[in-house]
C-alpha cells in the first residue's frame, strides 16, 4: 500500500469523525475539552466561529456528527455532542470584546441578502467584519427564517433565537423586514455588487386525494400551519388530529397539535418505522407525549359529511424487497378508517421561486431548483449566489450555515475580482501533547460512562403550555461527565518510521488492537490479515514506509482507536507521539494561502 501522507490535512481530518461529518466542520473535541475545563465562553466562541448559532443548534441541530461519533463504534451510544453545545451556550459568560470588530469605514461594496434564515445570516456574519454594506430582506417581521416560523418554541425558545440572530444584525446589517422581494430583476437593478438568495424551500407538498377539496377547511399543509401557530394566527385545533408524514415536520406538527387541544393525535405514515425520515430522538419525544405512530398506511381518501371532515381512510400495505434489494409497498387488500377533526399534511417541502424572472440569467434545473456550482454556490448569473434550502432543496440549519460560509468566500473573491475556484485551504496545526512521563496535555483517560440523558420538564406542564421548553439541558456536572466520554479523536497518533525499533510494545498495549507490523501488501489483503480485521471501509488504514530493521510496515486501523495515548506512552523511542490536530475551515477574508492540493 502507498504510505499515508499525513501532510494532507484531509487524512487526519477524517479521523476526527464528528468534525468531518459536520457540514461546517466544527472542531468538536476542541470545544468539548473546553467544557471539561469549565471554559464555557471559549467553548461557545469555538462553536460560534464555525456554526454561528451554538445556542440554537445545541437544541435543534440534525447532528450528523453523532451517528459518525467514534464512541458509537466502541460502545453503545455516541457522545451527546449536540447537547454539550447547548451546555456551552447555557453557561457562557459575557461575550464582550469577543465578537469581531466591524470596520467603520466600509469597503464600498453592497450586498443584498434575500431571506433572513441561517444561510443569509451566516453570509452577513462573515462579510460584515470585512467592511461590506449589507441589506437583508425578509417577508417576516424578524430574522431567523424557518428557525422562527417552523421550529416550535417548545424546542427553541425565542430568547435564544433573538440573542443569536441579534449578534449578527447588531453588526450593522440594514434590515428590510416585512418586505417580500417580488422581483430579482429589480434587486439586481439596485446596483448591488452581489445578491445572495437564501429564501429556503417554502412550499409544503399537498396531498391530492378524494375529499381534499370538499373537506379543505379542516385540512392544513403542515409548514403553513406551524408558521400560523408560531405567529399566533392559530391557537387551537380539534380534539382528534391525524398527522400525515414521517419526517421531522410531522413530529413538530403532532407535538404542537397536542399542545393546542389535540387529545387523540396520531401520526400516520406510508413507510415502515425504520424508514421514517424523522430523527430517532424526534420520534422518541413524540411517542413519549402519547402520540402513536402508525406505519404502512397509504392515505386513500378524506372522509366528509356536509362539507365537514369526518375522518380518513387508508390502504394497508406490506413492505417487500425484491432480489435486487429494491423496496416496494404492496397493498394487502385491507383498508382502515380513522375518524378525525383535523388533518395536518407534512409529507414534504419544495423549492419555489415565483419571484425570480426566468430571463435574468439564473438557470433552473429539475424541480425548479436553480443550477448552482456545488463548491462556490454561484448561479449561472455570476452576480447571484444561492445557499441553504434555496440552493439544494430542504436540508437543515447546519447545512445552511456551511453554505453561507462558502458563499461568503465566493462573494468576497467575486467582489475582489478573483477566481472563485482558487479557494483558501483549511487552517491546520499539529502539535505534540507530551508534557512528561505519563503526562499529556489532554485528558487521555477513557471514561466508562454510558451516555447521559438530558432531563425533560414535566409533561403535565409542557403539554399544557406550548411555550414551555421541553428539554432542560445538562446541568454542569452532567455536562462534565458527558464531556469526559469524548475520546479526543483530534489528538492524533503520529508515527515516525525512522525511530521505530519494532519492539511491539505499542502493538501489545493497544487495548483495541489497532496497530500491526506486517509485510506490505495491497489494502484488501492488509484489511483482512490484521490482528483485528479492518472491516469498516469508511475508516482509513495508516500505513508507514518500510521499517529499518525488518522492512515490514506499520499498519494502523483508525477505526476504533481510543486516542488513549498508550502506544505513545509505551514506545521507548518516541516513534509514536500524540499530536493535537486543529482543523479550521477558512472563512471569507481570512488571510491564508489558497489550497494547492
Amino acid at each position: 500500500m502507498k504510505p499515508t501522507d499525513i501532510g494532507n490535512a484531509e487524512y487526519f481530518h477524517k479521523v476526527v469523525d464528528c468534525q468531518y461529518a459536520c457540514p461546517a466542520h466544527t472542531p468538536v473535541p476542541e470545544y468539548i475539552r473546553m467544557i471539561s475545563a469549565e471554559r464555557y465562553t471559549d467553548a461557545y466562541m469555538v462553536n460560534w466561529e464555525s456554526n454561528v448559532f451554538p445556542g440554537i443548534l445545541g437544541r435543534t441541530c440534525d447532528r450528523p456528527c453523532e451517528p459518525a461519533c467514534r464512541r458509537g463504534r466502541v460502545e453503545d451510544a455516541p457522545v451527546a455532542i449536540c447537547r454539550l453545545k447547548r451546555a456551552a451556550a447555557d453557561n457562557k459568560g459575557s461575550l464582550e470584546g469577543l465578537m469581531p470588530k466591524i470596520p467603520r469605514r466600509k469597503n464600498g461594496k453592497n450586498i443584498a441578502l434575500v431571506g433572513a434564515g441561517p444561510a443569509s445570516l451566516t453570509v452577513a456574519r462573515d462579510l460584515m467584519p470585512l467592511g461590506y454594506k449589507i441589506d437583508i430582506y425578509d417577508d417576516q417581521g424578524k430574522g431567523g427564517g424557518m428557525m422562527r416560523s417552523q421550529i416550535p418554541v417548545f424546542r427553541l425558545p425565542p430568547a435564544v433565537l433573538d440573542e443569536e440572530v441579534g449578534y449578527i444584525l447588531d453588526m450593522g446589517v440594514t434590515t428590510h423586514f416585512n418586505t417580500r422581494v417580488e422581483s430579482l430583476r429589480s434587486v439586481l437593478a439596485d446596483d448591488y455588487d452581489a445578491v445572495f438568495v437564501g429564501t429556503g424551500a417554502p412550499r409544503g407538498s399537498d396531498l391530492d386525494i378524494p375529499g381534499r377539496q370538499e373537506a379543505a377547511a379542516r385540512i392544513h399543509v403542515g409548514i403553513d400551519w406551524l408558521s400560523s401557530v408560531a405567529f399566533e394566527h392559530v391557537e387551537s385545533i380539534g380534539k382528534r388530529v391525524i398527522v400525515l408524514g414521517g419526517g421531522n415536520t410531522a413530529m413538530d406538527c403532532c407535538r404542537t397539535a397536542r399542545r393546542l387541544g389535540g387529545e387523540d393525535v396520531k401520526v400516520i405514515v406510508r413507510s415502515e418505522f425504520s424508514k421514517m425520515k424523522a430523527s430517532p430522538w424526534e420520534k422518541e419525544d413524540a411517542m413519549a407525549e402519547g402520540i402513536p405512530i402508525l406505519n404502512n398506511h397509504v392515505p386513500r381518501a378524506f372522509l366528509h359529511e356536509n362539507g365537514k371532515l369526518t375522518g380518513m381512510s387508508f390502504d394497508l400495505v406490506e413492505v417487500r424487497y425484491d432480489d435486487t434489494g429494491r423496496r416496494s409497498l404492496v397493498p394487502t387488500g385491507e383498508a382502515v378508517e380513522f375518524p378525525c377533526d383535523a388533518v395536518l399534511i407534512a409529507i414534504g417541502q419544495e423549492n419555489a421561486f415565483p419571484w425570480i424572472e426566468r430571463d435574468v440569467g439564473v438557470e433552473f434545473g429539475k424541480w425548479s431548483v436553480p443550477v448552482v456550482d456545488p463548491r462556490t454556490y454561484q448561479s449561472t448569473n455570476p452576480k447571484v449566489f444561492f445557499g441553504g434550502d434555496a440552493a439544494l432543496g430542504p436540508k437543515n440549519i447546519i447545512t445552511a450555515v456551511a453554505h453561507g460560509h462558502q458563499a461568503a468566500i465566493s462573494i468576497d473573491l467575486f467582489c475582489r475580482g478573483q477566481n472563485l475556484h482558487d479557494r483558501p485551504g483549511p487552517g491546520v496545526t499539529l502539535i505534540s501533547q507530551k508534557m512528561g512521563m505519563h503526562e499529556w496535555s489532554y485528558d487521555n483517560g477513557v471514561s466508562d460512562d454510558y451516555r447521559f440523558k438530558v432531563p425533560h420538564a414535566d409533561p403535565a406542564l409542557t403539554l399544557k403550555n406550548r411555550k414551555l421548553e421541553v428539554e432542560l439541558g445538562f446541568d454542569t456536572r452532567t455536562a462534565l461527565a458527558e464531556a469526559q466520554r469524548c475520546l479526543n479523536c483530534d489528538v492524533q497518533t503520529v508515527f515516525t518510521a525512522a525511530t521505530c525499533i519494532e519492539c511491539d510494545a505499542c502493538v501489545d498495549i493497544c487495548p483495541v488492537d489497532c496497530i500491526n507490523f506486517t509485510p506490505d501488501a495491497e489494502e484488501s489483503v492488509l484489511r483482512s490479515s490484521l490482528r483485528a480485521p479492518a472491516t469498516n471501509h469508511e475508516q482509513d488504514l495508516y500505513v508507514s514506509g518500510p521499517l529499518i530493521q525488518t522492512a515490514r510496515v506499520m499498519v494502523k486501523d483508525e477505526n476504533v482507536c481510543l486516542h488513549c495515548g498508550l502506544c505513545a506512552e509505551r514506545c521507548p523511542t518516541g516513534a509514536w507521539d500524540m499530536q493535537k490536530f486543529l482543523y479550521n475551515v477558512t472563512k471569507a477574508g481570512q488571510a491564508c494561502a489558497p489550497s494547492k492540493r
Binding site: V74, H438, C503, D504
Partner: protein, 350 residues
C-alpha cells in the same frame, strides 16, 4: 493524564472455543520499561493460551525474581500464580505440580534467575522431566538490578559503559539438552510468528518444555556492541518457521514433499517444521540438535525454532507413580487404607 488501560476492547474481538476473549487472559498493565522484550513475551503467552485454548483458571504461573520474573503480574490475571524467591521457582513448581497435576504450569524466569543463582535448581527440574513449560526471558543481563552482565552474556559483548564481557557464556538450551530435557526450543521476543506456536507446542508437550527466548533489555542492553540488542539479534537470526495445528483443526495447507516435518503431540495436535530455512536435522536426535546449535554459534548465527523433542519420556509423576488426583481432593478414606492393610504391612515386616 492517566496511565490506565481503557476497558474498551475491539468490538469484533474474537472469542475462543471456550468462550473467552483475549481480555480474559490479560493481566494488569506492565510496569517494565517501555519497549522491553519481556512484554512481548507476555503478549505471546496470552496469545498462545487464548489460541490453544486453555481456560485461564486451569493455568498456574510461577516465577523467581527479576524483571522477567515480574511479568506474570502482566498476563493471565485470572490464573493461579506464585512469585517465589530468586532462582527458586523450580522447587516451588515441583511442589505445586506434584500436589496437583491437573493444572498447566508455566514457569517464567530470567537468565540471571536461571543461569546464575538458580542454576542448580534449573539443572534438577530439567533432569526430573517435570511436566511444565519453562520460559527463560534471556536479555544477557540483570535488568532489575540495572544491567550487570549475566551468565548468558556472550564473551566480548559490551556493557552499556563499554567494557567487554570476559567470561564464556552459558547456553541454557545446550545445557537443557545435555541434562535430558524432552522439549527444547529457542526464539526471539520480536518474532511473534514463531514464538506463539512454540509456546503452544510447549504447553501441549507432556514433560519438561524449555524455551530460551532472547528478549532485549531496552534500557541496559540495547546499545551498539551488545549481542542481545534488537538489531543485533535480528541481524544474526536463523529462524526456522514453526506452525502449530491444534487438535480440532484439520490440516489443510499442503507443502512441497520433503520440505516439512510433522510432529504429532500426544494430545493429537501437530507441530509442523519447515526444512527450507535451517531445520535440516532429525528433530528427535538430541546429538544432532546440540551439533546444530554449535555450528550456528560458530558461524556467528543463532538458530531459533523447535530444536529437540522426545515425546515418549515419562514425566516425573509417571516415574514416581504418584496419585492421579490432586492431593487436596484426597479424603481420609483415600489416605488411610484401614487397619487390615496396616496389619498386612506389619505382618510383612515381621
Amino acid at each position: 493524564m492517566t496511565y490506565q488501560r481503557p476497558n474498551f476492547r475491539h468490538p469484533e474481538a474474537p472469542v475462543n472455543t471456550l468462550g473467552f476473549t483475549r481480555r480474559d487472559y490479560e493481566g494488569s498493565i506492565s510496569t517494565l520499561c517501555a519497549g522491553c522484550g519481556h512484554d512481548s513475551i507476555s503478549a505471546a503467552i496470552i496469545e498462545a493460551c487464548f489460541g490453544l485454548p486453555v481456560a485461564p483458571h486451569r493455568i498456574a504461573k510461577l516465577s523467581g525474581i527479576g524483571c522477567s520474573s515480574k511479568t506474570p503480574a502482566y498476563f493471565l490475571g485470572r490464573s493461579h500464580g506464585f512469585n517465589s524467591v530468586h532462582g527458586r521457582m523450580p522447587s516451588v513448581a515441583t511442589g505445586a505440580n506434584l500436589a496437583n497435576q491437573d493444572l498447566v504450569y508455566i514457569g517464567v524466569s530470567g537468565d540471571g534467575d536461571s543461569a546464575s543463582i538458580g542454576f542448580g535448581q534449573f539443572a534438577h527440574v530439567v533432569r526430573r522431566n517435570l511436566n511444565m513449560t519453562y520460559i527463560v526471558e534471556n536479555n544477557g543481563c540483570y535488568g532489575l538490578t540495572k544491567g550487570q552482565d549475566s551468565a548468558t552474556a556472550d564473551r566480548g559483548s559490551k556493557s552499556k559503559k563499554g567494557s567487554a564481557n570476559p567470561y564464556e557464556a552459558i547456553d541454557l538450551a545446550s545445557v537443557a539438552l545435555q541434562l535430558g530435557a524432552t522439549f527444547v526450543a529457542r526464539s526471539f521476543s520480536g518474532d511473534r510468528e514463531q514464538l506463539v506456536p512454540l509456546i503452544k507446542a510447549a504447553l501441549s508437550h507432556s514433560g519438561f518444555a524449555f524455551l530460551d527466548v532472547m528478549s532485549p533489555c531496552v534500557t541496559f542492553n540495547n546499545h551498539e556492541g551488545s549481542t542481545k540488542s534488537y538489531i543485533h539479534v535480528r541481524d544474526h537470526l536463523d529462524a526456522a518457521p514453526v506452525d502449530f495445528v491444534p487438535v480440532r483443526d484439520e490440516i489443510r495447507a499442503s507443502y512441497a514433499e520433503g520440505m516439512t516435518t510433522e510432529v504429532r503431540m500426544h494430545d493429537g495436535s501437530v507441530v509442523r517444521l519447515h526444512k527450507d530455512s535451517g531445520q535440516v536435522y532429525n528433530i528427535e536426535d538430541r546429538q544432532a540438535a546440540l551439533r546444530a546449535i554449535a555450528e550456528h554459534d560458530e558461524a556467528g548465527r543463532t538458530l531459533t525454532g523447535l530444536l529437540y523433542i522426545d515425546r515418549d519420556a515419562p514425566d516425573l509423576h509417571k516415574v514416581l507413580g504418584t496419585s492421579r488426583r490432586p492431593l487436596n481432593s484426597l479424603k481420609e478414606k483415600d489416605l488411610c487404607p484401614g487397619s487390615k492393610v496396616l496389619d498386612s504391612i506389619n505382618a510383612g515386616l515381621r
